[in-house]
Amino acid sequence: MSETKALKIHNLSKIFSFSVKDQRAGWMRNLLKPHTKAVKAVDDISFSVEHGEKIAFIGPNGAGKSTTIKMLTGILFPTSGSISVLGLDPTKDRKRLAYQIGTVFGQRSQLLPNLPLTDSLEFFGTMYDMPGKEIQKRMAELTHLFEMDSFIDQPVRKLSLGQRMRAEVAASLMHKPKIIFLDEPTIGLDVVAKKSLRDLLLKINRDEKTTIFLTSHDVGDIETLCDRTIIINHGVLIKDLPTQELSKTFAYEKYIDLIPEDRFSAFPELSAGMRYALKNEDKVTVMVDMTKMSLQEAMQKLLNIFRVEDIDAYNMDLETIIRHIYERDPDRQ
């Protein structure tokens, strides 16, 4: 590969401008001189991605994830900044770039709804200029890999959501793209379908060295699929770190669950460094700030206060960590 990076984004910004009705002005003024409002969806972000990496690009709703993906794939034009995807500028080389990337938008279908899935796959192959024999070969490969034999001849509209998502991903892989952009690919899927899709993506990444760039609200996608996580909020990049490191972000916070012998009736004030995360008759959860006291010290203090049947200490789960990161983003306060 001649390019050193799969993706290189530098000071990327996107401002959406739209007209808003001025209630005080008349309809003529609103028509001729409309009031415009600007929203900065992506604000000066920079990062790069190596070939074969698996990136989770996450953030709360309205954070700017989809806008960024759409700029990377040439759908939207950036307001400022530069993008290089496989060495190409999506604003200038959209067509050339399209041959090398695949996209899956979880909430939109790119398949032909009334026709059998084979027609959609053949159609994609033709669109990507693949010779007829290669189309058939790739279709057979993907049908086997994605276990689509049972529904390959069915009209797309008759597929279950899980089958359809597998088909969507397969269609986007027809031309063997070097990068696949997935925008919430597991949305609405049950646990079995989610696992199956994740396994397939991992296999594609391993066997075909496809770079994966994924947005998702599902922590399972991030944990099982991605080795690096980039967090964006209010259009600003707030964290870029290996996914494993993410769990260490709040490693100084530990949780202790206390299960009562009978029932908890009182919840006395805790010493500095501990606070209640949950106060319940059947269960108490206490958050311990490890910079202020050790876990052993915290447990001893809690056992002095409460009569317990069981006690359990653990780290914060990834979902809570991510929620904390979003909440601690100063812009959100």
Partner: protein, 266 residues
């Protein structure tokens, strides 16, 4: 070469789809019988009451002229406006914008593929029925008619697609294009001779038909008149000029629209 391969793939795939689901063909055939059939019945009565000739034309000429309008309408090329509007409003445009194809050309081939089977099937059946019922006017047996009927239909196809693409592309700016679509569509219907054959138009409407793109998009309805022998060069030329001008306009609008796009959820 690549564009031809994509175009033929889209058209053949959609034609196969239409053949597998013949419901749409039946609906189109029923609409044709209901609209064109009833109008022709009424006109046959009016021509009868007037001694067989009105404004210098006979009923069979009027019937064929109107039939050409209605058979062409089965092609549903005007639906490209709604398809583009739907893509813009639903945000579905994004799934096509990142493919190695031109969105606008994709929509054009798609629209042709959607209507081609109904158009061909209904036109063939309609021609046979009309030949048997009203016969062929002599103007339809001339060499000029035979040589020009396909080019004028092709010109009408390209010009219609350009006109209705422009209307559809307006959705990138105003989202709701239905009122504009309605006005243009009615202009095409009136000037195309769907209610009244062109030969019976008042002079100002004849001029409007000949010099406007809306009328030019239905010039195949003129091919059955005596005047076609003198006017076909001008009319095919006018169709070509309007097609080039409006296609350029559509392309320019599309290039501007691409930079304007703001997709739902983005």
């Amino acid at each position: 070469m690549r564009e031809i391969r994509i175009a033929s793939k889209i058209i053949s795939t959609l034609t196969r789809d239409r053949m597998q689901y013949p419901g749409r063909l039946l609906v189109d055939a029923f609409a044709m019988i209901a609209r064109c059939g009833i109008l022709l019945l009424l006109y046959s009565r009016v021509f009868q009451l007037n001694g067989g000739t009105i404004g210098g034309i006979t009923f069979n000429v009027a019937a064929w002229s109107m039939f050409f309008y209605f058979s062409f309408s089965v092609f549903r090329l005007r639906d490209i406006s709604k398809a583009i509007m739907q893509d813009v409003r639903s945000g579905n445009v994004e799934t096509l914008f990142n493919k190695p194809i031109s969105y606008l050309l994709y929509r054009v081939w798609w629209q042709i593929g959607m209507g081609l089977f109904s158009f061909v099937a209904i036109t063939i059946v309609g021609v046979v029925v009309l030949v048997l019922i009203v016969g062929l006017p002599t103007t339809m047996t001339t060499t000029i008619f035979i040589l020009t009927i396909i080019p004028v239909f092709l010109g009408a196809t390209m010009l219609s697609l350009a006109i209705y693409s422009i209307i559809g592309l307006l959705a990138f700016w105003i989202e709701e294009i239905t009122p504009i679509f309605w006005i243009v569509d009615k202009a095409v219907m009136m000037l195309g001779g769907s209610f009244l054959p062109f030969a019976l138009f008042p002079d100002f409407m004849k001029k409007l038909t000949v010099y406007s793109p809306f009328g030019a998009s239905q010039f195949m309805t003129h091919a059955v008149y005596d005047s076609w022998a003198e006017q076909w060069v001008f009319m095919l030329g006018a169709q070509a000029v309007w097609t080039i001008a409006l296609s350029l306009l559509a392309w320019t609008m599309f290039m501007k629209a691409r930079q304007k796009v703001s997709v739902n959820g983005g």
